[in-house]
Amino acid sequence: MSNPLYNKNIISITDLSRAELELIVSTANELKQHPRPDLLKNKVIASCFFEASTRTRLSFETAVQRLGGSVIGFPDSGNTSLGKKGETLADSVQVISSYSDAFFMRHNQEGAARLASEFSSVPVINGGDGSNQHPTQTLLDLFSIYETQGTLDKLQVAFVGDLKYGRTVHSLTQALSLFDCEFHFVAPPALSMPEYIIDELKEKGCTFTQYDSLDGVLSKLDILYMTRVQKERFDETEYQHMKSSFILTAQMFEGVKDNLKVLHPLPRVDEITTDVDSTPYAYYFQQAKNGVYARQALLALVLTNEFGDK
């Protein structure tokens, strides 16, 4: 019997079913509790960053090493001869995938990973394609939520900040909409959740509320997902107002639930003040570390049949 993700491409979070998301989360948990340093022995994984992203790349390459595999690849296409002679991505992928057992990539154009998967002879894992998808971020977010709450169902989840352009927020909302969660969207009107996400939630019958300030929201929550608001999008007065409405400080935790956890995809700028870091609610650094386990889980599922036969 093979697990449902064996030999599959991981391109878009919306390709994954609830059962597949649960399998990835439970595998990440398993690998965190019981490391498997030999699982990918003799496997070669291509790590191709056509666009630089140091955190994602280090997290992914750590995942490979922790499972005993080896990495080939490049940290950004500026350092390679790829594309310089007019070579298409399709051709590059065919060649690189012929050297490796799996292909992990990041690219600045939307749809690059889907296209690569159509030309690759080995499974492709999307590490971000332009403003489109970044499924491994969502998987580490899901794993962090599961780890801190013991479940992905019946949770009160708030998203705060730039919900319009925040790709991580869109994917995580889509993933959680397969579970029985209630959503709270906190954003300035100019940066509110895009209509297509709202339409999807309505279609699925999910419960959600939109707010223009954090006031009165915190006490209900199990998960508070903060995101960066780019200062450049506002003039100075607007920004000062935003600070009071969308910036999290340690004083604001009065009356919150004990199990509340604050997540953030990092890097943060000033939307979470540093006094939050030492509270029991802060979880963003553990969340970043969980990226390694989530990526280990994907590699383990895509490349082996050791997990998933439950």
Binding site: A90, Q109, E110, R114, N132, Y196
Partner: protein, 152 residues
Amino acid sequence: MKKHLKVEAIEQGTVIDHIAPGQGIKILKFFELSKGRQRITIGLNLPTYAGEHKDLIKIENTVFDQNQANQLALFAPKATINVIENFEVVKKFKVAIPEQIAGVLICPNSNCISHNEPVDSRFNIKQESGVVKLKCHYCEKSFISEVFKELH
């Protein structure tokens, strides 16, 4: 009642009727109809019995298959196709929006990978409360059919 024939009848071919005004020219371009050697008659802004206006295209010696007719539905969801033989309508059918369309439209997202790679563009089509939405298979962005200006 006296019928006013605004467009000359054809002996053999296809009449695409009930095209929304303004879409007739688009359809001609879309199917590159004028590139062939068959005779084409086009009527723009023809009055209908209901007091509205429509465009109409007659193409001689050409028969649309269901697949072509469905692509046409993107531009003219209410069109009817009449197959003409010997000046008579021998078959009449409505168009239906296809589930997918490949290789015809260019993705409006300028940063979509499909523009400069050796692949056909591909869109999944969904109709929501009368609006035709196309979702790019590659960049996953959704567009309403009106934004497609260019063709492949």
